[in-house]
Symmetry: C4
Subunit: 206 residues, 4 copies
């Protein structure tokens, strides 16, 4: 198959995102998957089973907006979670799904949601301009039935105005943005804020 | 605009400081800002919205001592916190403002100040020559109104002889020095001492 | 001695595995050892006393399936633990034994076994396809008498169907796979899951 | 001054040791100092005030066994702690003094000594061949009067057979070996064992 220049640019950016994300320890073993929407509406997405810290361009495949493979490669089982988000949010162009331990621990310790408020770093989130705000990151039960899980997520998102990411319990985080850079910024900020909350619950007051 | 050699030297040093500070995880997303005062009294400072671990010389701008842009670039909202410090302390030549998690946690756990005493590493602070001393790092409430926050800081600094840095709650640390190297030394030492204090409160005695 | 191409390929892969494992802090000082079975049934294994993060090809030696040196080099005292596993499991081709602190702590805190369940990352283990499962990692008392320890391990393995690794108390983890890559995937996943369990026991619920 | 080849070799090895030790975060700011004894009994040692992660050969100086400068450079205030150890132990050829947070925390939590026993990694210590042993690392009060502190250490060492290192409270670790490599192995092992002990005291049993 002849890939477009847009695809190649996105594929290289996803490989580089993988190197960065792995350097943080957020995609152990072959976990995680990443995608970017191209200008024509097709989607570049990581294939299944590769270590996300050592991605090559050939580890990125092309799908349509219904998750059908356009190049004969086999996509991750979780591709449907990506396409559902792209359909809902026309302006987002990238989705990142790492398996950071902080997201796992948040899902084991905080019930259905984690609320983040009064942190300067909230200003890293799209269109937030003050720390005097709060964001809610929902936590969903894990499910190997991806269409069913995608439906649960979608139903939740119907009920909220702004959402920057969600956690699947015992599994990992989904976050997104209007570019790969913005999605990375959201990821770095959310993991930092999860870390703050977890460490606050582990430290005794003097 | 034609930049001076002093500006270029300071800009490269700020970019390198950013790489080091990011390698420690202290400037997640696009947080933080850094500056250096030039011999003619103008100030090189990071522009807004760039990742501080990947700074290029063109991400550094020039302002005067009242925070007015001299090259048409847009400075960070927090520039006024830098110029207030430079006016107060004629000998300091560099200011670093990272968002390390330790500073955040200190601000959530210790009330208005954290007192650091009896550590050998206190000797990393300017003109301290023994561990048998104590330093106080004040903690101020966060505020998006930077002139008001600068005034609160300034009023506090009127009341103390020596100060090596301050924390803005839920936000990050400001520290400074007579050179970028000294400011980096103060930063490394303060974060280490915050880490010691936080971990002491999280570890039970045997 | 003239080494085969298979040996050289395995030796380079073991050196690279060592660099990765050391970058995680899992083989401090000169601890740990790694091996790979070659197509002819002989085994490439790290020699004794070298830092596993700085391995050279000459730090890898060749043994037969009874742990006899085939090239005159001196193997680690723990070689018998490797050959016992290779005899039991004909399909495994690589064994990794690091000394990660998480494995040490698990052995000090959890009694005879640690049970891992309901984590998406369990799918990193060979032939596991859902998080709705559990795996058991046994913990054995440390013993400098390696034949005796190998016998204790072997007797335990007689009683279970699937096993992905075991911990020697106060010592470290043994894990394996059908290739060096699979063994590395098992190692990365197990250490991550140990970390999750340990941190869950150190964090208070909000 | 014309330095010998032995000095140059030792100086390069000390610079490389510094890079490794700094990569672990054990010499923040400009803390720490390292030395190596040369075959003629003179000692190569780091000068004062340099960052130990960025040492150049010119940051290493030459002293005699009474700590007198032989090349006009100014040595660290703590040089007397090095020469006292070299006089006591004729076979040691290297001394490393980092400021790791684990050593600080151990000194704040464990009283006069920390006892390490039943760890496989104890075998990283010179001439230890089994985990069924224990070593004692003494903890001394910090003191800016270095001759007085050296005397306290020396008096303690008169009373014990084997000692692999000591901690100065709120300050850092001293460890040594028959070569720079052995001293690094002792350092890596001791910090790992301190980490184990500290984390065991911070984790609740399930």
């Amino acid at each position: 198959m002849q890939y477009s220049q847009d695809f190649k640019t996105a594929a290289i950016a996803l490989c580089n995102a993988g190197k960065f994300i792995d350097s943080k320890g957020w995609v152990p073993a072959t976990s995680g998957n990443f995608s970017a929407r191209l200008p024509d509406g097709t989607i570049a997405i990581t294939t299944s089973g590769k270590h996300k810290g050592h991605l090559q361009v050939e580890d990125i495949m092309l799908i349509d907006h219904d998750a059908n493979s356009l190049d004969g490669k086999k996509s991750s089982a979780e591709t449907g979670l990506h396409t559902t988000l792209y359909k809902r949010y026309p302006t987002i162009q990238a989705i990142l799904h790492p398996h950071s331990i902080n997201a796992i621990l948040v899902s084991k310790i905080f019930g259905d949601v984690i609320v983040l408020e009064n942190y300067e770093l909230l200003k890293a989130m799209h269109s937030i301009t003050t720390h005097e705000t709060r964001i809610t990151v929902p936590i969903f039960a894990n499910d190997q039935d991806i269409p069913r899980l995608a439906h649960v997520v979608d139903q939740y998102l119907d009920t909220v105005n702004d959402c920057y990411g969600y956690i699947i319990a015992g599994h990992g985080l989904y976050t997104w943005g209007e570019s790969i850079l913005e999605a990375l910024r959201h990821l770095e900020a959310l993991d930092y804020l999860f870390d703050c909350e977890l460490r606050l619950h582990g430290v005794r007051k003097p």
